[in-house]
């Protein structure tokens, strides 16, 4: 077992443990904070995969914006739900069963796939992934259209969110 493998297992334990806390803890503020821990673990996994830019984006966008938005939403809505009554609906055992079956199905499907135990390809010498990513996002031969569609989606979501949450009174 190499050093990298130990680091990976450590962060995998952090991610899965925090994710379990997110879906089971009673206090929604704590759930949002556990989500931040899980997202941080995912950022570390990106770093292990040599995707440094995505690790930074994960911290800035997910932890900096989305998780904080969740905390605001919890603070604006929590009075009704705070720590009273069950947090899981009455079909939770069915949900647990479906989750376990999904995991088993995915794992079974993947373990029959030939590339399952593949090891990482060598990163070609002189490859600057960030530069490649930047070029790919604006090059007409590559992904400029999905990039523009994503920006329009964000604009539409922005306007939609303001309209939906706007208090008419």
């Amino acid at each position: 077992m190499t050093f990298l493998q130990i680091i990976f297992l450590l962060f995998a334990a952090v991610i899965l443990g925090s994710a379990l806390m997110v879906v089971t803890t009673r206090n929604m503020i704590h759930a949002a904070l556990w989500l931040i821990a899980a997202l941080f673990g995912v950022a570390a996994v990106y770093a292990l995969l040599n995707a440094g830019f995505l690790a930074v984006v994960q911290v800035v966008v997910y932890i900096g914006a989305i998780a904080i938005l969740f905390i605001f939403a919890v603070m604006l809505t929590r009075r009704e739900m705070r720590d009273k009554g069950p947090q899981l609906n009455k079909n939770w055992w069915m949900a647990a069963l479906i989750s376990v079956v999904t995991f088993g199905g995915l794992f079974g499907l993947l373990s029959n796939w030939a590339g399952f135990s593949k090891t990482a390809a060598e990163i070609p010498a002189g490859l600057d992934a960030v530069e490649q990513l930047g070029i790919a996002l604006v090059s007409p031969d590559a992904y400029v259209l999905p990039f523009e569609v994503a920006s329009i989606l964000l604009l539409a979501a922005l306007i939609g969110a303001v309209y939906v949450a706007f208090n008419k009174e």
């Binding site: 879906v23 995969l49 997910y62 939403a73 989750s99 376990v100």
Partner: protein, 102 residues
Amino acid sequence: MIPLSWYLTLSAGLFSIGLFGVLARKNAVAILLGIELMLNAVNINLVAFWRYGDPAMIVGQVFAIIVFATAAAEVAVGLALIISIYRRRKTVVADEIDMMKW
């Protein structure tokens, strides 16, 4: 080196936990938290396949960026809906939000 199977197993586990959260939680905000976990599992898969496939093909990272943008849009609209419903109905329990139930 870390084999690809470890990343895929981690991602499958994270996806299943998020699925449980979406299906079992009563609080609508908690359902969105579960969706975030599932989107992150997808992103781990995309980046792992980029790294273990051909790193010169950047498509895995491009898709991950698009998923980031989609997740941000989804959270903004979802939370705006929840806050709007809370303002009118004074509830965030998904079972009680049944205006569209026929």
